[in-house]
């Protein structure tokens, strides 16, 4: 039972990380109609900037504003210089341009920091494990990620549903043309949304630093999963992205944790392990295919 709870927490933690990335991606895709492959690069920039500052100053906490600022700045600059020119173009042009950005950022980071992964040590406050239930030890840092992720989700909910900017964002994701026709400064709105998405990606990147390796190409690894989240949750829906992230996080974790064991009950030896590993890495894509068959617009968008 404690093992199951621990795996559940692992799933939620992975889901929360995915959400921080998916929230920005789904807004950018939903409101501006831009497929932004460079979102993963922003995640990487946040991780590198935050980790570098944390390592230079010796303070983990100083890394947070640095990572966030660098990511948001990179996001606004990308929007201003590149993405702004892509709004009217078709998706292939957008994919090409933002893929080019990935290559540029990866090379730039390699030139600045070298190829060897960076290391940030964890603050003493978040180090070690805590006993949640008798026998259930869980790393404090991962709990902190879950808490931060849920707080961000709450904040986004309030921002989107209770503020004027949020109203424009919602309007923009439902009917872009009408918002423009009503005389809203869409350019400013777009830059704002892009910057916000970048900020969240940077936060995810910096938080991933002490757990995962801060290295060139770290963004691409998680970007594909993030796109799966966006598709399952429904393009443009923050609520969809939130629930889809948690579902994917838990499904992916439990497949990895339990499938090989289940297969070993009905099969023998290494075949079970190999098959289990194979199916569990396909799991989220299978889930996406099934969702697309049943609800082509995503789980949280009403079919019209």
């Amino acid at each position: 039972m404690t093992l199951f709870l621990e795996q559940l927490l692992n799933g939620v933690q992975f889901g929360v990380m995915l959400f921080l990335l998916a929230a920005g991606l789904t807004l950018i895709f939903g409101i501006m109609g831009v497929i932004n492959l460079a979102h993963g690069s922003i995640y990487m920039i946040g991780a590198y900037a935050g980790t570098w500052v944390a390592a230079e100053t010796g303070s983990f906490w100083l890394g947070i504003p640095a990572g966030l600022a660098a990511a948001a700045f990179a996001g606004v600059v990308i929007e201003f210089l590149v993405v702004r020119r892509l709004y009217g173009r078709d998706h292939l042009d957008q994919v090409l341009a933002t893929f080019g950005l990935i290559l540029i950022f990866n090379q730039a980071i390699t030139m600045l920091f070298g190829r060897q992964p960076l290391f940030v040590s964890m603050p003493a406050l978040l180090d070690g494990s805590v006993e949640l239930l008798p026998g259930l030890f869980y790393p404090v840092y991962r709990l902190a990620i879950i808490v931060v992720g849920l707080l961000v989700a709450l904040g986004l909910y309030l921002l989107i549903n209770k503020t004027r900017v949020g109203m424009l964002v919602r309007a923009g994701s439902t009917n872009r043309e009408m918002v423009r026709a009503l005389g809203v400064d869409v350019r400013l709105l777009y830059t704002l949304v892009f910057g916000l998405g970048a900020l969240l990606a940077g936060l995810a990147g910096f938080m991933a630093g002490p757990i995962l390796a801060v290295q060139v190409g770290m963004g691409e690894q998680i970007l594909i999963t993030t796109f799966v989240v966006v598709v399952i949750g429904g393009v443009g829906s923050i609520r969809g992205a939130f629930f889809a992230s948690l579902i994917l996080g838990i499904v992916d974790t439990s497949l990895r944790a339990y499938l090989p064991g289940l297969l070993r009950q009905i099969m023998v030896g290494p075949e079970a392990d190999a098959l289990g590993a194979g199916i569990s890495s396909m799991g989220i894509y299978l889930l996406m295919a099934i969702v697309l068959l049943i609800r082509p617009k995503g789980l949280f968008i009403r079919n019209s």
Partner: protein
């Protein structure tokens, strides 16, 4: 520092370009992994190889060489395409550089079928060591099976009875687990295969905790290894369950990135910075002086590969077209390596010594890999018997 080293490299390259005009240089095609999380592996292979060339003033064995370097991006398809391009457009007859077994699996057949030669500085899949061995294919590093097997030998030597094993789900990962089991005398408490692009191991940590073994053996190359060890520490397993690993999971770059989480880990491998022989001392000093970082075993293997090629070029006076002459010269093993003892088995894979090492705090307070004892002497591999060379 970065800029300075690239300037140096540029200066070296241009110097060498002018000298290349004078004599007809031997083209060496280096296909290696320079981008992505594992990019530093290929970088070290390349830099170690280049160091040997620079120390000879742009030559290997007195013969000017021209190294063409391309990045395979850890994609087997890319490796194959680069090999085709080098073979057909550049007329390259001598190849090296591949780091990963899966890239080697797709690329090496392309090269040897075209009657060119491949000298591996790192990748050593078991499929080319037994029945699939080839006269044009030499391995200067080790077999994945033996490298990871040395961890099994180490675990047995340390007296552990019950092991939990995990590795990524690809050729080298499977070789690693097979190798570990071959040398480990105890029982296997659990066996897990992870994704090659997986960086979060929380689910695996929980399973290790539940299985409660004496020892954990894991093989996660490059950045994956850093993430794994750090998470192992965070989940509180580090003090509770000891770990044995082979050197690819704890090279000097990973050691630096993991930090204190690595202290006390039991590592095994064929090369270390502190191995006591002249070639190694010279290599480590020169590498640190040139690149301002501690060499990893990939750098040492790149350097050894260059020394081996140098000895062949010296004997054949720069002729690489005659495969038979190349082979005879290579198998004479008239070169020194950073590993001290080295010879070829009949499958043209190495026969060498293996060492148990431990991560300890050095006199300067920095963590370092210290060689503890010799585990295996002049050890070959179990596949050589199947090879008909």
């Amino acid at each position: 520092m970065k800029l300075k080293s690239s300037l140096l490299a540029f200066a070296a390259a241009s110097l060498f370009a002018t000298s290349a005009l004078a004599q007809d240089p031997v083209k060496i095609g280096m296909i290696t992994t320079l981008s992505g999380p594992a990019g530093y592996l290929g970088q070290d292979v390349r830099d170690g190889f280049q160091l040997a060339i620079d120390m000879e003033g742009g030559k290997l064995g007195g013969v000017p060489v021209n190294v063409l370097v391309e990045d395979d991006g850890l994609k087997p398809g890319n490796g194959r395409q680069i090999a085709e391009k080098f073979l057909n457009d550049e007329g390259v007859k001598l190849f090296t550089g591949i780091v990963f077994s899966n890239v080697a699996g797709a690329t090496v057949p392309e090269i040897v079928d075209a009657d060119a030669i491949f000298v591996s500085p790192n990748a050593g899949p078991s499929e080319f060591a037994g029945k699939g061995c080839n006269p044009n294919y030499f391995v200067l590093s080790w077999l994945t099976d033996t490298m990871q097997g040395s961890a099994g030998e180490n675990a047995t030597d340390l007296g552990y009875k019950k092991a939990f094993v995990l590795a990524p789900n690809y050729q080298a990962g499977k070789d690693a687990i097979a190798g570990f089991k071959r040398y480990f005398k105890g029982e296997i408490a659990g066996e897990l295969y992870t994704r090659l692009d997986q960086t979060d191991f929380a689910a695996e940590m929980a399973q290790i905790k539940a299985a409660n073994p004496d020892v954990v053996f894991q093989f996660q190359p490059g950045g994956l290894g850093i993430a794994f060890l750090r998470q192992y520490q965070q989940s509180g397993l580090l003090g509770a369950i000891p770990m044995v690993i082979a050197e690819p999971s704890m090279d000097h770059a990973i050691l630096k990135a993991v930090g204190d989480a690595a202290e006390g880990l039991n590592v095994s491998g064929a090369w270390n910075t502190d191995l006591d022989n002249d070639t190694n001392r010279e290599f480590v000093a020169k590498f640190q002086e040139t690149y301002k970082r501690t060499p990893t075993m990939y750098a040492a293997q790149g350097y050894d590969t260059a020394l081996a090629i140098a000895s062949v070029l010296k004997q054949t006076e720069g002729k690489v077209e005659d495969v038979e002459a190349f082979r005879t010269a290579m198998l004479k093993t008239e070169f020194k390596t950073t590993r001290g003892s080295f010879s070829f088995g009949k499958n043209q894979h190495p026969v060498q010594d293996w060492y148990a090492m431990q991560v300890v705090k050095g006199d300067d307070g920095q963590l370092t890999l210290k060689t503890r004892k010799k585990l295996l002497s002049a050890h070959g591999d179990p596949f050589a018997g199947d090879c008909d060379l």
